[in-house]
């Protein structure tokens, strides 16, 4: 009996010990306060004003300075309507006619210089964006996002309404983008370029061009307990090899987001095996812009032949070791929300799996246009002088040979690229298009609507334009998706801007960096950093 009691005591003691040990040994999931997050930045952004930029070189370091009215939930990788949460707005409501979107604003929020945030700041911001203010941005690349907004009105300090010309449910998605921070009325656009004032979790400290960007914790941040970090320091290192070596050597806690190419990722993993790395689509498509205003590409047959000659899988396997996506304008599923189903995609000429059959068809079209084995078409393929542009352009030249097109690479410096495209001084161009929000309204109106400044090829199809508006007003998600697929299919069939592939890229961080979420369908919306903490 005594031995039984002893055994029971030992068992009880063991259980207690084990459970205590287990508790003590459990991974510590409680976020810790403190520490500076050290990152490298891939280049020196033009300035600190998110509204005037169109690259995530601006979003990454400056998004933590600001708040939006609403924001995509930062710990959910996929941006969607369901993940939009309040930010400076406490709540929102659509009017009965779906033409008014009213926000109830958070009380007691202060700008980093101590001034109170009110509805007037929201109105100021959007009045400048819509070009209705005395104040002007030097550049206003997303003005078209607010084409359907009549005006922004305030009702007291804590209520603001967006009054629309017609229903546009996706306005909320555009407002949730990292590209849509609220600016203060009392700071000029010029000052926002050099010393941005926001309401966000981090305050701007310093931006030394080509050197560093420093942010410090906002102790008065309206969200209690956030941010966890004491600050963020970005060291600007344009040389990718140096930057990655410095990360491997432990000089940085995190790489610049989606800066590691797929081939380089192997090197990083072999040299820093403890690093946590993730590969996600960037929602940047590599595409062909066609000058259809002058010969030879004013001939739809030649445009179609060219699109049909593409072997997209070859691009993906050469440039991304198979890790990139093939799709239409919208980012393919599952990361993208609006990508066409595979069978529908493969029904588009040139997307079928049998590349030889596609090219046979393409050759027929070329012969119809007067070209053949004895008469090749000589074209210049213009692209920017950057590796991500040049490399696919070289593959494109090689592929076009199969349909009697002899391509010559025409490398254009960045300064000349857009003026050259704008004055239609090119035949074919290899281009990259980044989509800030995974929503058709952003992509369609910006890149394909008649007269849009970013519609580089001046593609204009009034029939499709009508469909843009129909899908834009549709509130039933399933119905909208079907419309979007039809539009996307037509855009590819029209060879409006043939999409070659959607890129993926890697981001790495040291294992002690916690709370990082890399967005899976946007490169522009996930850099608030208020949930990031250092476990060391």
């Amino acid at each position: 009996m005594r031995s039984v009691i002893a055994l029971a005591a030992i068992v009880a003691l063991s259980v207690l010990t084990i459970s205590t040990t287990a508790l003590a040994g459990e991974p510590k999931n409680e976020p810790k306060q403190g520490g500076i997050l050290r990152m490298y930045h891939r280049d020196s952004p033009a300035n600190a004003s998110i509204h005037e930029g169109a690259t995530y070189s601006i979003n990454v370091p400056f998004m933590p300075v600001f708040n939006n009215l609403v924001i995509y939930k930062q710990d959910v990788a996929q941006n969607s309507m369901d993940t939009i949460v309040p930010d400076l707005a406490e709540s929102w409501a659509w009017g009965n006619d779906n033409k008014t979107l009213t926000f109830r604003l958070r009380q007691g929020v202060k700008w980093h210089d101590g001034k109170p945030f009110t509805s007037a700041d929201v109105k100021c911001t959007f009045d400048i964006l819509m070009g209705k203010s005395q104040q002007k941005f030097r550049q206003n690349p997303r003005k078209a996002w607010y084409n359907e907004v009549n005006d922004v009105s305030t009702n007291g300090d804590l209520e603001v309404s967006f009054n629309l010309k017609r229903p546009q449910p996706s306005l909320l998605a555009l407002l949730a983008s990292g590209y849509t921070p609220v600016y203060p009325c009392h700071v000029s656009p010029g000052d926002m370029r050099t010393h941005p004032i926001g309401t966000g979790p981090f305050k701007f400290v310093e931006f030394k061009a080509n050197e560093s960007i420093k942010l410090t914790r906002n102790p008065d941040y309206w969200k209690e307990g956030r941010p966890y970090l004491d600050g963020i320091e970005f060291t600007i290192i344009p040389n990718r090899s140096t930057a990655i070596l410095a990360f491997v050597a432990g000089k940085f806690d995190m790489t610049f987001p989606t800066h590691i190419t797929i081939p380089l990722l192997k090197d990083v993993k072999s040299q820093a095996p403890n690093a946590v790395c993730t590969v996600e689509p960037t929602n940047v498509s590599t595409n062909i812009i066609v000058n259809s205003t002058s010969p030879p590409f004013d001939n739809i047959d030649i445009r179609r032949a060219m699109a049909m000659a593409l072997d997209r899988k070859a691009f993906v396997s050469i440039l991304f070791e198979g890790q990139a996506d093939i799709g239409g304008t919208m980012l393919p599923t599952p990361q993208g929300l609006w990508g066409m189903p595979r069978d529908m995609l493969e029904s588009i000429p040139g997307y079928g799996p049998d590349v030889n059959a596609n090219r046979e068809e393409a050759r027929k079209l070329m012969q119809k246009a007067g070209y053949g084995p004895d008469k090749h078409l000589a074209v210049k393929i213009s692209t920017r002088n950057l590796a991500e542009y040049r490399d696919p352009a070289v593959i494109l030249i090689d592929q076009l040979k199969s349909i009697y097109i002899d391509g010559e690479l025409d490398v254009v410096e960045t300064a000349n690229w857009f003026p050259k495209v704008a004055r239609k001084d090119y035949m074919l161009g290899l281009n990259l298009t980044g989509n800030a929000v995974d929503d058709p309204d952003q992509s369609f109106y910006e890149n394909y609507s008649c007269g849009s400044e970013r519609n580089y090829t001046n593609y204009c199809n009034k029939e499709i334009e009508k469909l843009f508006d129909v899908q834009s007003q549709e509130t039933d998600l399933a119905k909208r998706k079907k419309l979007v697929w039809e539009i996307d299919k037509k855009l590819q069939e029209d060879v409006a801007r043939p999409i070659i592939f959607h890129a993926r890229a890697g981001t790495c961080w040291q294992p002690y960096v916690k709370g990082v979420t890399v967005m899976s369908n946007s490169s522009y919306n996930g850099y608030r950093y208020e949930d990031v903490w250092l476990d060391k």
Binding site: A46, R138, G190, A209, N210, A249, N416, F418
Partner: protein, 315 residues
């Protein structure tokens, strides 16, 4: 001597005036301006916004007006504002100069302190294994681009020691400062050292064949006295010339070295400013460099007189 100095100073001013015109015109010939690049960064072009911005920055003015505005400001010490950062150009340029100056100074020191002695040894030991080894080193120094050497040093230090020299903007001690600059200075100075070594060797060999050296030896002077007192003193003139020219050319090597080692110096800054067509930065900075180079040449000429008593500057 005084008249010579006045004439040289006048010629220097004339040279700088010519350089200012060349700088200004070359920069305008390069296609695209800051506005094109800013709009490229924003991903679109709006003709009205573009025109407004060109007006705001004054680059819509006739070239003569732009030139006079710039050169007048330069002479008054008013460098204008950077188009990109919108901060005073002088405020952007000045803090970066000491960084590059230290790096260049250390690289030149490295070049002279390694190149001259090794060149002398190579000449004195002509035809020996040591001479061949040193010649291989000098040849490799001339062949290896500094960016490649820099990357090799970085990769090796990460692979072997898990460490990487990273630029320390505020070194507190001499040791810290040396640690910050030594490796990049060696990477960029290796080429200069190799060149100095070759020039020293050939110049020494030429001098060592002279009669007065034979005479010195015949009089019983020691090898060290012959080599360093008689030979080197006479062989050093072309070496000084080469080091002087190298000082001017060093800026090219510093651009890549500052990029590879991520040093926020003035050389890398200049390339970035050219990329953005940031005229106030580029024009003023290149003009400052031109002033330094012109005065460096002048100083080298003056040093000739110090090292070679036969040289006298007369009218």
């Amino acid at each position: 001597m005084f008249a010579y100095l006045v004439r040289r100073l006048f010629l220097m001013l004339l040279t700088l005036f010519g350089i200012s015109i060349v700088i200004f015109l070359l920069l305008r010939i390069v296609p695209g301006n800051i506005v094109d690049i800013l709009f490229a960064a924003a991903g679109y072009v709006d003709p009205a916004d573009k025109a407004n911005l060109e007006k705001e920055l004054g680059i819509d003015q006739p070239l003569v007006v732009q030139y006079l505005h710039w050169i007048g400001g330069f002479l008054r010490g008013d460098f204008g504002y950077s188009y990109v950062s919108e901060k005073p150009a002088l405020q952007e340029i000045l803090p970066r100069i000491p960084i590059t100056a230290r790096l260049a100074g250390l690289a030149l020191l490295f070049s002279a302190s390694i190149g001259i002695p090794l060149g002398v040894i190579s000449a004195v030991k002509q035809g020996t294994k040591l001479d061949y080894a040193l010649r291989v080193i000098s040849l490799s120094g001339l062949s290896l681009p500094s960016f490649w050497l820099g990357l090799l040093i970085l990769t090796a230090s990460v692979a072997m020691f898990g460490q990487m020299p990273i630029f320390n903007p505020n070194p507190q001690t001499w040791l810290e400062a040396f640690a910050t600059y030594a490796v990049p200075a060696a990477a960029v100075g290796f080429r200069s050292a190799a060149l100095t070594m070759r020039i020293t060797r050939s110049s020494m060999l030429e001098v060592l064949r002279q009669d007065y050296i034979r005479t010195a030896r015949a009089k019983g002077a020691s090898d060290a006295a012959v080599n360093y007192h008689h030979a080197l003193k006479n062989a050093i003139l072309p070496v000084i010339t080469v080091i002087g020219i190298e000082a001017a050319f060093l800026i090219g090597g510093l651009i890549v070295t500052e990029t590879v080692f991520n040093i926020p110096g003035v050389a890398r800054f200049l390339v970035e400013a050219i990329r953005w067509r940031d005229y106030p930065i580029v024009q003023n900075l290149v003009m400052l460099i031109a002033v330094v180079v012109v005065f460096a040449n002048f100083t080298v000429d003056m040093l000739y007189a110090v090292f070679d008593p036969r040289i006298r500057f007369t009218d």
